[in-house]
Structures are given as structure tokens and as C-alpha cells.
Symmetry: C2
Subunit: 221 residues, 2 copies
């Protein structure tokens, strides 16, 4: 038998997927602007942020309506609560893309340095996959996939450490490049945080569909 709440939950999933698409696009755009040294391309990131902020309020209102009118319990309730958290994580991912855009603009305004942006590019690819993967898990209710997100986060952290190490070595040898290296460090940090938010989403997915709390060292599987 079809329940009214099933339709509302399908709507929620669609809204989250749409929002996640905006976040992916925003991240990809910020990194593309950096790599192609195209200052004007950063503007697109700010335009997408507006959409993400609208998504954020829309999802929150939809959750509140379901809670007030449908009185969900058990798995349905866990799912709605997870959406409230996923919504917040996605919104903050959008903020990180904007932060990348700010640091990216700063970076392009400075004397070009002989820096490897390949690690930053690789980080953005991993982070992008984590965003997409975490939302796929959510929509398909697949918890096995969610565990993979957690291990991708380790790869992202290792890449961030490499960017930090290389940038610090470069700064020590070239004091003129301190600002530019700082920009790269901050971008790496933003990408790391994007991955953290995707990890939060994966944990929320596991909780929503299994009732198992894997946060704070809880075991899953």
C-alpha cells in the first residue's frame, strides 16, 4: 500500500539530489576557474551559491512540514532527521566552494609561482566523488557504498598533507611566494573540509537506513 509519506520522502530525495548537483557544479567550477586562470569564471560559483542557499531553506521547510503533518516514526523519522543534517552539510559545502573561489582569486592576482596544482586538482576530484557518492548512497539507500566514502576521506587527508608539506617547503625557499602558497594551503584545507562534510553525510545515511550510529567511533558492518 502506498503511503502519503512515501511521496513526501521521494520529494525530499529529489530536492537533496538537486542541491547536491549544485554543490558538485560549484566545486567543479571553482577549481576549473583556478586551473584555467580565468578570474571571471569564479563569478559562476557565487551564482550557484545563491541556488544552494535557496535549496537549503526549501529543504528545511519541507522537513518541517513532514514532521508537523505526517508525524513520521522509526525509519521515516530517522530519514527526515538525516535530511535536516545532510541539508546543513550541503549548504556548508557550498560555503567551502565559495571560500575556494576567494582564495583562488587571490592566488591568480599574485605573481605566478612554479607550484604543482595537480594535487589540488586531484583533491577536488576525490572531494567531488565523495559528494556524488554520499548522495547516491542516500538516494539508493545503499550503506555499503557509504563505507567507501569514509575510506576516500583518508585519501583526501593524505593529499592535503602533501599540499601542506610542499607549500611549506616552497615558502621556506621563496619568501616572495609566501602569500601564494598560503592561498594553496587554504584551498587544500577547504577541500579537506568538503570531504569531511561528505563523510558526515555518509554517516547520516548509515544511521538513516540501519539505525546504527557510526559517529564517534561507533562500528558499522
Amino acid at each position: 500500500m502506498e503511503r502519503a509519506i512515501d511521496n513526501r520522502i521521494e520529494d525530499l530525495k529529489k530536492m537533496i539530489l538537486l542541491m547536491g548537483g549544485h554543490v558538485e557544479k560549484s566545486l567543479a567550477q571553482a577549481i576549473a576557474a583556478l586551473l584555467s586562470r580565468d578570474l571571471s569564471a569564479f563569478e559562476q560559483v557565487h551564482a550557484i551559491e545563491k541556488l544552494i542557499n535557496e535549496d537549503h531553506i526549501r529543504v528545511d521547510n519541507a522537513c518541517m512540514n513532514i514532521l508537523a503533518k505526517q508525524g513520521p516514526v522509526a525509519k521515516d523519522l530517522r530519514l527526515v532527521l538525516s535530511v535536516i543534517k545532510i541539508n546543513n552539510d550541503l549548504e556548508r559545502m557550498g560555503d567551502q566552494a565559495v571560500n575556494i573561489s576567494h582564495s583562488g582569486k587571490d592566488y591568480l592576482s599574485r605573481k605566478p609561482i612554479q607550484a604543482q596544482l595537480s594535487d589540488i586538482q586531484r583533491m577536488s576530484e576525490v572531494a567531488g566523488k565523495m559528494v556524488k557518492g554520499s548522495l547516491d548512497c542516500f538516494v539508493r539507500e545503499e550503506c555499503e557504498q557509504a563505507k567507501k566514502i569514509l575510506s576516500m576521506d583518508d585519501e583526501l587527508d593524505a593529499l592535503k598533507n602533501k599540499v601542506f608539506k610542499d607549500a611549506i617547503a616552497h615558502m621556506k625557499a621563496h619568501s616572495d611566494d609566501v602569500e601564494a602558497c598560503m592561498d594553496l594551503i587554504l584551498i587544500a584545507r577547504n577541500l579537506e573540509r568538503l570531504g569531511d562534510h561528505a563523510t558526515n553525510i555518509a554517516e547520516d545515511v548509515i544511521f538513516a537506513f540501519t539505525g546504527k550510529d557510526v559517529r564517534h567511533g561507533g562500528k558499522f558492518g
Copy 2:
């Protein structure tokens, strides 16, 4: 007439206050360890993080119980949803205190530099006031006070910019001190993020008690 839900909401407020106390203590401890150059004192930060993580799960479960059993609506529902978000922000504040503790340990392991830690200290004072202030607003249901938190965040951002500027100037002049300056930059960034979380809480308080959404440029007052 007393309603059953009023007692549950009072319980929630008490839990949030307790958790907020842990966050304040954790931040104060991390900064005290840094300023007194006492490596062992950082351990306390990790001990408090465990408490914060326990608080986090306890509050989430309490909210879920209220939603499932009391079916709150209108202001009560907004309040419970705000608690879910405030809970997440507090937990992440605890993470920031742990991050400060990691960078603080790194900083103390290096050759001492002639750095001004007074701005870091000032930042921690402002951030601490923001944490306390945002939770006071929540418990007392005072929205006017919440607006003050938003302006304290501007002060925190200005201090962070000063720490960044001074650290960059120092790195350019003293390449041996690059790592130590990076530690200070990361600590300033963590303190800035702590303030951002307190700002989120203040916005949630305004939403819970007025129904007005002041996020994303919405106006309050």
C-alpha cells in the same frame, strides 16, 4: 496548564547547556595549554571531547524521542529542530578545540618564535563569549542578545585577518619560522570557525523563537 512536552523541552535545554559548558571548557583548556606552554595540558582537551561526543548522541536521541512520542508542532517543533542543529554545531566546536590542540602541540614542539599570541588569546576570549552568549540566548529565549553574537563575529574575523597578516609578514622575514607561523594561522582559522558555529546557533535561536529565518541574508528585527 503544564504540558508533558514542556518538561521534555526543559530537559533538552539542560542537556544543551551542559554540552555548551563542555565546549567552553575545551576551548579554554586548549588556549591555556598553548599560552602556558604546557604540552600535557592538551590531554584534557581530548578527554573533554569524549564528553562532548557523548552529549552529541544523547541530545540527538532525546530529540528523536520527542519527535516520535510528543508530535510537537509550531514553536515546539521549531525548537526541537533548532536543538538538532545546535547540537551539531556544538559537536563541531569540540572538533575545532581538538584541532587547536593539535596545532598547539605542533607549535610548542618548534623553536620558540617572537610571536604575539595576544591576538590569539583575544580571539579565544571573543569566541568563548560567543559560545556562552549564543547558548544563553537559547536558554532564555532572548533574540535581542542573539543579534549581538552576529556582530561579535565581525570582531573575530578582523582579529583573524590581523593574525594572518602578521604571520605572513613574519614568515617572509624569517623562513625558519614558517612552520610555527602556519600553526598560528591554523589556530586562528579554527577560532574563526568556532565563531561561525556560534553564529549559526544564534541564527537558529532567532528562528526557533520568532519563526524568522535570518540565514542567507534574511533580515531580523
